[in-house]
């Protein structure tokens, strides 16, 4: 049997299978694609170079003549100064490898392109001797290989194993007793296929398969690094579940996640989908350069895209040209350029129900406000005992008089130019300025205004909310500081003569400092100290105003230059703001009266239009002290509006504000050199010339049917999910250093079939699970383990430990505790508080969820990157810090301790124990039911006897140990404690069996 380990017979040397792995592993580092590292100007990955004269004048390879080939002489040399690879490289060629190279040269030194870089080929289905076995084409490929290796396939697994295997694979849950009975008893043809169809249609299918995708997406509920604070991106997780459940074609699934925002009239769901690349980490340490960690997020996006879709280790090309695969360093940054032109805002992601609820509640608020308005301002009393309006209106009249006297005549200015060190400043129709794009820890906004400013006495700065800003603004702080806050450090004003205009004083409508102890006020933006300034913590989402009084009214001035500086240990620029000036000669203080109301107050009330009058009155109603109580009721209603979840998305930049992408020398952030344009690696199918080079077209390029990699890479990962091992073992590396496929024709057939089936994942899952290959028994015979220990050739069915989430789900499922609720914010199942308080910086208090949320499926567990949920990481769950194509399957004593003693698992055993204790039948029948709930199959006699004996013994012991019985039985009730404790012990033992957490 050939498993790629022994030396091939004469005439059999295959470049791809036998030679390239040797050359790549031992030679390419210095004689490969990387021109910078290349020695002696020799590359052995390209035949024309390998057979040409080297710098030394020698011929490295003379096809057909190993004895004349310098390469052969050097690999056989004992002279350390000549020997290749050089001894200090620690790359030792075995005698067999040397022999292969010699033989390959003797046979003509034929090169072949790397298999995975050539498009899949449709092969005829191979002939097999045992024609009765295959159920679909998959089996033809598998059986043909088994027959050629003289391996005996395994018989079909029994119905118990089949339904358990299928349920775990397709929906990640155990079958119920009724489902088991129905399937085992269903003797009609097509019973298995009906089961498959039922499971594929289950809404839990989406949960099961979303989780695998989330590994690649590095989904988590916190930002990572030191602070590791929570983020809200679970709407993206729910999008994946929905997309999988609806069997969204994989090409569309790809395009929406990479570029949903760029699709014509993108839907809310398509925006949410772009969360895929917002799962990168955010470092919130005060000392960081946000642009540096943005660069790290970008490299993560490139590497993750390459791993997920192309199965390429592109990350190697960040610092230098890839040593083994034909990826130039420049191409790395060209791929980055496709992905690097988006801004990264949050957006609201309401459900349809929330939208409706919010709409209704808002209508109710408006109607109550109208009623309040009507009642207050009706001219005639409705009832005879009410005070006449003339008397009642006194407070309003008084307020009106006062505010009219106080009102300032402001002129809103539209800037001629609005520039900054980095952010984009866009002038909106209402003359306000909206900031977007990247930020630094010292952003400087420079506005110029033209006009006649003579006599100007004060300047007003309105800080305004906007939906594009974190928590609606008005600031842009998005990490470390309070989200949506800003920090205005200093304000400078100059006239056209370039002379500094002195500002004498400043006031503001609201000020509060989020971090630190220096206070906050607009006046602090005048003190010449960049460390102090104005911010509006806890006033996020609201407008705020500051007024700056000039020392003297301006003399003649045609031009004003206003500079705003935002310096903090986090980016804290203003998000939206507007500037106005006045010639009012009084000392002006900032007013809470809205700008439009204040404008109306400048004219006699009677001269106002009806609409203006109403606006003034409406505002009054909103502040009138005599209406406090009525307003409270409305505010309460307002507060009951459902909180709309927010999620992180990508938003392509406007055409006039592209973000340049640079080549980075040695991959270092601090060494950008020239800018690069978007392009794809030259060795892959070319980018269409008639399409714009942007993220959307890049996504389409990835799923173009010409792509030799994507369909293979994706289907190979699905295959591995079912069989425990991919057709290509290295799920994340289809490059020259990766494993060769065990069944290359099958892989190609599956890849082509995937495309043919319209990229339908469910169709491919159906195909795989209905194969005879999949339905085999997983029993391991000594012969099989001898011949094929890793089951590469699939002479038996899959058997391996479940993934972390499935371990939790299966145990909860068996006990009946599992919640079937789908989606929503992540939850906090029980775990010791010390996991998040002792291990990580933020000391997150793990407040255990109550009710149903205590028992949700594993994928809904709150994922904290620096301290993942202990049970899940114990079973090799990911941390969300990097893209994971293949989880490890470890087997450790700590897992045993978890299943034996962890509170969650104890509770499941208690639940089963309580259930068993209330069953009326004889213990043997109760045990059988209990056993089947956990392991699907009935126990055999030895198992039954052992468990019953254990039960009886514990029952006797617990009868004498009432306190222990009460403690173990849980729930605090006294009745039946010994019985419940005994059954809890039995359940605990069953839940700890290897088979319980194994798919077999």
């Amino acid at each position: 049997m050939y498993l790629g380990m022994s030396a091939p017979a004469s005439g059999d040397v295959d470049f791809a299978r036998d030679v390239r792995p040797i050359l790549a592993g031992h030679c390419y580092k210095c004689h490969g694609p990387d021109a910078e590292q290349r020695q002696a100007n020799l590359r052995l990955d390209a035949r024309e170079s390998a057979i040409a004269e080297a710098d030394s004048g020698e011929l490295p390879i003379v096809p057909g003549k190993p004895d004349e080939s310098e390469l052969v002489r050097r690999i056989l040399s004992d002279d350390e100064s000549e020997q290749m690879p050089p001894p200090d490289a620690n790359l030792i060629l075995s005698p067999a490898q040397k022999e292969i190279l010699k033989q390959w040269i003797a046979e003509g030194a034929v090169y072949q392109p790397h298999w995975a870089f050539v498009a899949p080929q449709a092969a005829a289905l191979p002939d097999v001797a045992d024609v009765s076995w295959p159920r679909n084409p998959i089996d033809r490929f598998v059986l043909s290989k088994l027959e050629s290796e003289n391996l005996q396939r395994s018989p079909e697994a029994d119905r118990y194993h089949l339904i358990r295997r299928l349920s775990l694979d397709l929906i990640g849950l155990l079958p119920t007793a009724e489902e088991i009975d129905a399937f085992v008893a269903d003797e009609r043809p097509g019973a298995y296929e009906r089961l498959v169809d039922r499971l594929l249609a289950s809404p839990h299918y989406g949960e099961r398969w979303a989780r695998r995708w989330l590994d690649l997406a590095r989904y988590a509920d916190t930002n990572g690094y030191e602070k590791d604070r929570p983020r809200s991106i679970w709407p993206y997780r729910d999008w994946v579940i929905d997309a999988v459940n609806s069997d969204m074609p994989f090409d569309q699934f790809t395009i929406e996640q990479l570029a949903g925002d760029m699709l014509p009239s993108a839907t809310l769901a398509q925006h949410i989908a772009t969360g895929f690349h917002r799962n990168t980490m955010i470092n919130e340490e005060g000392g960081i350069d946000p642009l540096e960690f943005r660069f790290h997020a970008m490299t993560d996006r490139v590497n993750t895209t390459a791993t997920t879709w192309l199965g390429l280790t592109m990350g190697c090309a960040q610092c230098h040209t890839h040593k083994y695969d034909p990826i130039q360093q420049r191409e790395y940054y060209q791929v980055m350029a496709f992905l690097n032109n988006a801004d990264e805002p949050e957006m609201e992601a309401p459900s349809l129900m929330q939208i409706a609820l919010r709409r209704n509640l808002q209508a109710e608020v408006v109607s109550r406000q109208n009623r309040m308005f009507q009642r207050y301002f009706v001219d005639q009393p409705v009832a005879s005992n009410e005070t006449p309006w003339a008397a009642r209106s006194r407070p309003f009249q008084k307020w009106l008089r006062e505010e009219q006297q106080r009102a300032v005549d402001w002129t809103i200015l539209r800037p001629v130019t609005a520039k900054s060190d980095l952010p984009r400043l866009e002038i909106l129709n209402d003359d306000s300025i909206l900031a977007s794009g990247d930020q630094t820890k010292r952003d400087e906004y420079r506005l110029t205004f033209a006009g006649d400013f003579s006599g100007v006495t004060a300047i007003r700065l309105e800080a305004l909310p906007h939906e594009s800003l974190p928590r609606n603004g008005p600031g842009r702080a998005y990490y470390e500081g309070p989200k949506g806050d800003f920090f205005l450090s200093e304000v400078f004003l100059k006239s056209d003569a370039e002379h500094r205009i002195e500002i004498a004083s400043a006031t503001e409508t609201y000020a509060k400092l989020g971090i630190g102890s220096g206070g906050s006020s607009a006046a602090l933006a005048l003190d010449g100290n960049f460390h102090t300034g104005w911010s509006v913590n806890e006033g996020e989402g609201q407008p705020h105003t500051a007024v700056f009084n000039l020392r003297q009214p301006l003399a003649t001035a045609q031009k004003l230059q206003l500079t705003l500086i935002f310096e903090r240990h986090y980016p804290a620029g203003l998000g939206r703001f507007r500037i106005a000036v006045t010639r009012d000669t009084r000392e002006i203080t900032a007013s809470k009266v809205p700008v439009d109301v204040e404008a109306s107050l400048l004219s006699p009330f009677g001269k106002l239009t009806a609409a203006q009058q109403r606006r003034v009155k409406t505002y009054y109603v909103s502040i009138a002290p005599e209406l406090d109580n009525e307003r409270k009721a409305i505010e309460k209603l307002h507060k009951s509006l459902p909180e709309i979840p927010r999620t992180l998305v990508m938003q392509e930049r406007p055409l006039d504000f592209p973000r340049p992408t640079y080549f980075h020398k040695r991959g270092e952030f601090l060494q950008p050199t020239e800018t690069v344009d978007p392009d794809v690696p030259a060795f892959l199918h070319s980018f269409p010339t008639d399409r714009p080079r942007n993220r959307l077209e890049f996504a389409r390029w990835l799923v173009n049917s010409e792509n030799p990699l994507t369909a293979r890479v994706i289907i190979n990962r699905h295959w591995a999910a079912f069989f425990g091992r991919g057709i290509v073992g290295t799920l994340d590396d289809f490059g020259t250093q990766g494993d060769l496929p065990t069944h290359p024709e099958l892989l190609d057939w599956l890849a082509l079939e995937f495309i043919k089936q319209g990229w339908s994942t469910k169709s491919m899952h159906r195909l795989i699970v209905t194969s005879a290959t999949y339905r085999q028994s997983s029993r391991v015979t000594p012969q099989l383990i001898e011949a094929d220990p890793e089951n590469r050739l699939l002479a038996r069915g899959p058997r391996f430990r479940m993934e972390a989430e499935l371990v939790r789900d299966a145990v909860l499922c068996a006990s009946g505790l599992l919640s079937d609720k789908i989606g929503g914010p992540s939850v906090f199942p029980p775990q010791p508080a010390t996991v998040t308080t002792e291990d990580a910086f933020g000391k997150l208090q793990w407040k255990v969820s109550e009710g149903e949320d205590r028992y949700r499926r594993g994928l809904y567990t709150f994922m904290k990157r620096t301290t993942p949920y202990a049970m899940l990481s114990m079973f090799d769950g990911p941390s969300g810090e990097a893209c994971v194509a293949k989880r490890e399957v470890s087997n450790s004593p700590l897992q045993a301790l978890t299943l034996l003693n962890d509170a969650v698992f104890l509770e499941t055993a208690q639940r089963l124990g309580a259930w068993a204790a209330t069953q009326s039948g004889p213990p043997q029948l109760v045990l059988d039911d209990l056993f089947r709930r956990c392991l699907t199959r009935p126990p055999d006699t030895v198992e039954r006897d052992a468990l019953l004996a254990f039960y009886t013994r514990q029952q006797t012991r617990f009868a004498k140990r009432q306190d222990a019985a009460l403690a173990l039985a849980g729930d605090g009730k006294k009745s039946n404690a010994a019985e419940r404790a005994a059954w809890t012990s039995v359940s605990r033992a069953i839940l700890n069996l290897d088979e319980m957490i194994t798919k077999n």
Binding site: G533, L993, D994
Partner: protein, 480 residues
């Protein structure tokens, strides 16, 4: 019951001994039970990991490591690297040509200098200069190797801590302890090979600091906690006495063995072994944590209260772990991040750590364990010669992060004692002599344990990875 066990005993033994072909790697833990022969060093890379002892590349000096990780970064200028010149500069900016293009976390480069906050004096025969705030360390100064010329690439806590541990500034690569467990295996099957403890505030880099990265998970650091179970879930649930736990494990073992007989999958044998080891952990962990066998003199030397979690208790536990065969113990003491009041910060943290750190060295020495145990003391970077002061953040008389020159000390494990290495300029800003990069330290640490940092590799995504990436030189001058 016993029948089930006996009937299947042979099958299990056969699997343990690896008759089944796949055995050796896959049932690594199982083979531990049988006292199997060491792995050969070229067979390190196994898909599921393997903790059987493995020969080092060459004869090691050290067998185990205790790393006292001073997280948050202590001020070398007030503890180890005395710069009287700084006092002269106090209130003045450091010349811009000294500062160059260095980026800082919080301060502006023109911030004024801040003089040493404590007096220094020479100690021991070696005459090494130490701050008055480290009186206990002064007593063991002739056993330590002080390196004043360490530098790192990172100037923020999480990246710098992860970089120190894994040679890479972001999560995803194996930590030092994981590489040691991978490279050398475990000396005990009753305790984990790599243990992590912590005192003080939370750890910036989080679990990435002791992650096995792309190495198999069995090499991950195992947390010993201050509150509740030292190892999560090591205590049986209430109502489960040791007899029930033993009977339960026997039952599980018997039924698993029966399944092994039927299914033939060697993974079941590994599971059986895991449960046996779990049971042993249930007694070895409490035994380890029980300090009643320690003398009053020992407890006093460390300043440890047996009942109260503290850095001192953690140091004592570390010694007990090493005695019991643990390969690597890391104790995180967080809290050194003195952006304000560096003097007060040092007083507080030295008060918590100085005595126990020195006691650990003395205790190991008097027990004859110091030669084979490498003790490492230090933070993820240093602190600036310049003052940090920012009224808006309520900060004064602090020091910011300083990656380009800081101090650490090591003791035992083949390091020179009473030895001071490297130097910085008169303001403590730059290294002037014998720079030691974090990758050099890592190479040197591996070297003391008999591992060649260039040969200790693991193939992942088509590339051979190592702790020192493509850098690092063993600093032979430090070795005795």
């Amino acid at each position: 019951m016993t029948d089930v066990a006996n009937n299947n005993c042979d099958v299990t033994r056969r699997h343990f001994f690896g008759d089944c072909g796949v055995g050796v790697g896959k049932i690594a833990l199982a083979s531990l039970l049988t006292g199997a022969t060491p792995r050969s060093s070229d067979a390190r890379q196994q898909p599921s990991g393997d903790l059987t002892p493995c020969d080092p590349h060459f004869t090691p000096q050290a067998k185990a490591v205790i790393h006292l990780f001073m997280a948050g970064a202590p001020s070398q200028l007030d503890l180890f690297d005395y710069k009287p010149k700084l006092a002269e500069y106090e209130g003045k900016s450091i010349p811009p040509e000294v500062i160059g293009g260095q980026r800082y976390a919080f301060i502006r480069p023109d911030a004024a200098a801040l003089g040493p906050q404590y007096q220094f004096a020479k100690h021991g025969q070696s005459g090494i200069e130490l701050s008055e705030i480290l009186p206990h360390l002064g007593h063991v100064v002739d056993d330590i190797c002080l390196i004043k010329s360490v530098h790192t690439d990172q100037f923020n806590h999480a990246p710098a801590q992860i970089f120190w541990n894994s040679g890479f500034p972001r999560p995803g690569r194996p930590s030092l302890g994981s590489w040691l467990a991978y490279g050398l295996g475990a000396e005990t099957t009753d305790l984990p090979a790599f243990v992590v403890l912590s005192t003080g505030s939370g750890i910036s880099g989080g679990a990435a600091n002791w992650s096995s990265g792309f190495l198999p998970t069995v090499y991950s650091g195992v947390r010993f906690r201050n509150q509740g179970d030292p190892i999560l879930n090591v205590t049986s649930p209430e109502g489960v006495d040791s007899q029930l736990q033993r009977e339960t494990l026997d039952l599980i073992g018997d039924l698993n063995r029966r399944r092994l007989n039927v299914e033939g999958d060697p993974e079941i044998a590994t599971r059986i072994a895991s449960y046996e080891m779990a049971f042993r952990l249930q007694s070895s962990a409490p035994e380890l944590m029980d300090l009643t066998s320690e003398t009053t003199a020992t407890l006093e030397m460390y300043g440890a209260d047996p009942e109260k979690p503290s850095f001192a208790r953690a140091c004592l536990l570390a010694r007990r772990m090493i005695e019991r065969g643990v390969r690597c113990v890391t104790i995180y003491h967080s809290g050194w991040d003195a952006h304000t009041n560096v003097a007060g910060n040092l007083k507080n943290n030295c008060g918590k750590t100085d005595q126990a750190s020195a006691a650990l060295v003395s205790d190991l020495k008097q027990r004859g364990m110091l030669d084979e145990t490498l003790v490492i003391w230090g933070g993820e970077f240093g602190r600036t010669p310049m003052v940090e002061s920012n009224p808006a953040l309520g900060r004064k008389l602090g020091r910011d992060h300083h990656p380009q020159a800081f101090s650490m000390w090591m003791a035992g494990g083949g390091m020179k004692g009473g030895y001071s290495y490297g130097a910085t300029d008169e303001l403590g800003f730059h290294i002037t002599e014998k720079p030691v990069h974090i990758h050099d330290l890592q190479a040197t640490i591996l070297h003391t344990l008999g591992l060649d940092h260039e040969r200790l590799t693991f193939t992942h995504q088509g590339r051979q990875y190592r702790l020192t990436d493509v850098h690092g030189h063993v600093v032979h001058d430090l070795l005795a």
